[in-house]
């Protein structure tokens, strides 16, 4: 067992798949010789050669489109967005061409688009985005968003092996903050589509993912100690397709739900989760489904502003306390 960071776990997962399957290759900006802006592919070019770790021009639409073409022919591309914010430049290609390919034309397009997302790092409005909501609305695409080192590894491996396109979101605030013991040798494969109970609880459920999963766990800890409130925390891990069974199960267990995400509120994915709970477990609700999210503004740069706009542990504590008392 070795202590590995989120970033190292992701790196290992990529590396193992490159070793296992020579159809897997990487393309993106500065991923080769430089090893990626965050060093996720550091050393890959040397090990696997420039043909399998391709430095591209600054062309996100072409990166995603070329990955799709190669995937149609049986290869397994992993495309990196230097920051996930730039996936917006490939929005048409990913939603219209890639995601619909199997349905409209029977094309298989096994590919992964991955990149660093998320805030709490003073990145300003264009290096901190959480794009999941804009892609949740895309039948044919899968979206995974690991919160732990184990799932960072397990989900990148499962994504590469999946027969359909996967958007893999990696929170840069977790890259080096999260450390975990991972068994060497063991093959870690986190199934796509399955949420995980990150903490058992009785009185209230928090549904979250990514960086706010950790803030939710912190909040749960405090509530247990300070208020004796037992909070269950569900880590969605996969956002599309959503694990309704796990969501409904925790709601039926605690009867109160707080959905926590870092993304802005309006149009964020908490809405979809709330609608599903409403449809599938309305009678089990002892209180309104509440949301703790970012405020509806582009994410500002100054620490004072970013800290106010993004959900913090104490916000979750206050909200959960309110809901528990409801």
């Amino acid at each position: 067992m070795a202590d590995v960071t989120f970033l190292e776990a992701l790196r290992q997962g990529l590396w193992e798949e490159m070793e296992r399957d020579d159809r897997v290759f990487i393309l993106g900006e500065d991923v080769g010789l430089y090893g990626g802006a965050f060093k996720v592919t550091d050393g890959f070019s040397k090990r696997f050669g420039e043909a399998r770790v391709i430095d591209t021009p600054i062309s996100e639409a072409a990166i995603v489109g070329a990955a799709a073409g190669a995937a149609h022919m049986g290869l397994r591309p992993v495309a990196e967005m230097q920051f996930i914010d730039f996936i917006s430049c490939a929005y048409d290609m990913l939603t219209n061409y890639v995601a619909t390919a199997r349905y409209r034309a029977g094309l298989s397009t096994p590919m992964v688009v991955r990149g660093p997302c998320g805030g709490y790092v003073r990145g300003g409005p264009f290096h901190s985005q959480n794009p999941e909501a804009a892609f949740l609305h895309t039948p044919g695409l899968k979206i995974v968003y690991p919160a732990t080192a184990r799932d960072a590894k397990g989900l990148i491996k499962s994504s590469i092996r999946d027969e359909d396109p996967v958007l893999y979101l990696e929170h840069k605030w977790l890259y080096r903050r999260i450390k975990e013991q991972l068994p060497e040798g063991e093959e870690i494969l986190t199934p796509i589509g399955q949420a995980r109970i990150a903490r058992e609880g009785k009185h209230l459920s928090i549904i979250s993912y990514g960086a706010t999963l950790w803030k939710s766990l912190e909040a749960a800890e405090q509530l247990e100690k300070a208020d004796g409130v037992s909070v269950e925390v569900l880590d969605l891990r996969t956002l599309l397709p959503m694990d309704d069974a796990a969501i409904v199960a925790t709601v039926k267990k605690t009867n109160k739900v707080l959905i926590v995400h870092e993304d802005t509120r309006t149009g964020g994915i908490a809405g979809e989760i709330a609608a599903r709970i409403n449809e599938q477990a309305f009678e089990w609700l002892d209180g309104p489904i509440m949301r703790v999210t970012a405020h509806d503004v582009p994410l500002p740069y100054a620490p004072t502003l970013e800290d106010f706009v993004l959900p913090q542990t104490e916000d979750i504590v206050k909200a959960a306390r309110w809901l528990a008392a409801y």
């Binding site: 021009p57 072409a62 489109g65 070329a66 073409g69 149609h72 290869l75 219209n96 044919g140 359909d164």
Partner: protein
Amino acid sequence: MALPATRPTAAFPSGAAGAAGAALSSDQLLEIYYYLRLTRTLEERLVALYRQTKVIGGLFRSLGQEGESVASAYALERGRHKDVLSPLIRNLGSLLVMGAQPVEILRQYMAKADSPTRGRELNVHFNDLEKGYLGQISHLGDMIPVMAGIALSFKLRGEPRVGLVYIGDGGMSTGTFHEGLNLAAVQQLPLVVIGEYNHWAYSTPPERQFAVKDLAEKTKGYGVPSVTVDGNDVFAVYEATRFAAERARGGKGVHFIEVKTYRRKGHAEHDDQHYVPKTDLERWANANDPIDRYRQRLLAADMVAEGDLKDIDDRVRVEVDQATDACVDEPLPPAESALPGVYLDPPAADKLWFKVL
């Protein structure tokens, strides 16, 4: 015998052209004629079906552009796991050359249950990657990066295969065209790009689409050699494509071919093209129809016998009749067949709750 391409460039010595042209046997010349005729006759049939409202949605014509479509596709290596092309709405001929069947086209336009996309997508938006064609999506330009990716797979696997993709004089204005062509050029991918200068992008003329005279000027800045050919000269297009494809196959990278042609019908059947000068239409129809020109060339040079061409005309009519009879009364897809196949897993989208009340 074969005309040299107009305005040859260093990348396209007319010598090579002549040679390629000479290489066509009379069987091949007749086969090309067959595809030209089949394209036009099939489209005429589609017009008839459109008027009978049997075609769902719009109908797009390639009248006057059959030559460049058929000739460019014919210059590729065809057959299972050979070259791959991606046609646009006006490249029906290319699709037929690659092995798509008339009945498949008819079924697509009529959205039949047994159409290649099972009624999910329109007209020529379908594929058979084994035969070597990849259907476009509507968003213009997107196929350039995708075909670059297909060419990339050929390069990574060291396969002697080539990709070919068509783009319109309008489509070249899209950002995806730029990104895809540049990536292909930098990676020296085996890709042939055919730019169709057919004088219109819907109602927009070239001078409102770009500020140079020829499309061929646009690709030099990508390090992609280009040539402009008479798009209604089947031989010229064949030779230029052949040259570009073999060059790409030889590892020399992307090549661009501009074909000068003319869109003789409206953007789609609904468009009366009032904005198109009648005189232009007449000139291109009377003096410059690609099929007439090809036919005359074959006969003038005694390359084939008139009877052979007549036989092909008859054969095509029969084939199109049979294809039509075979599918015109076929059913549309069953409603619930709309659900499967969004993903491999899960196998089908949920049927919504209100459908089962």
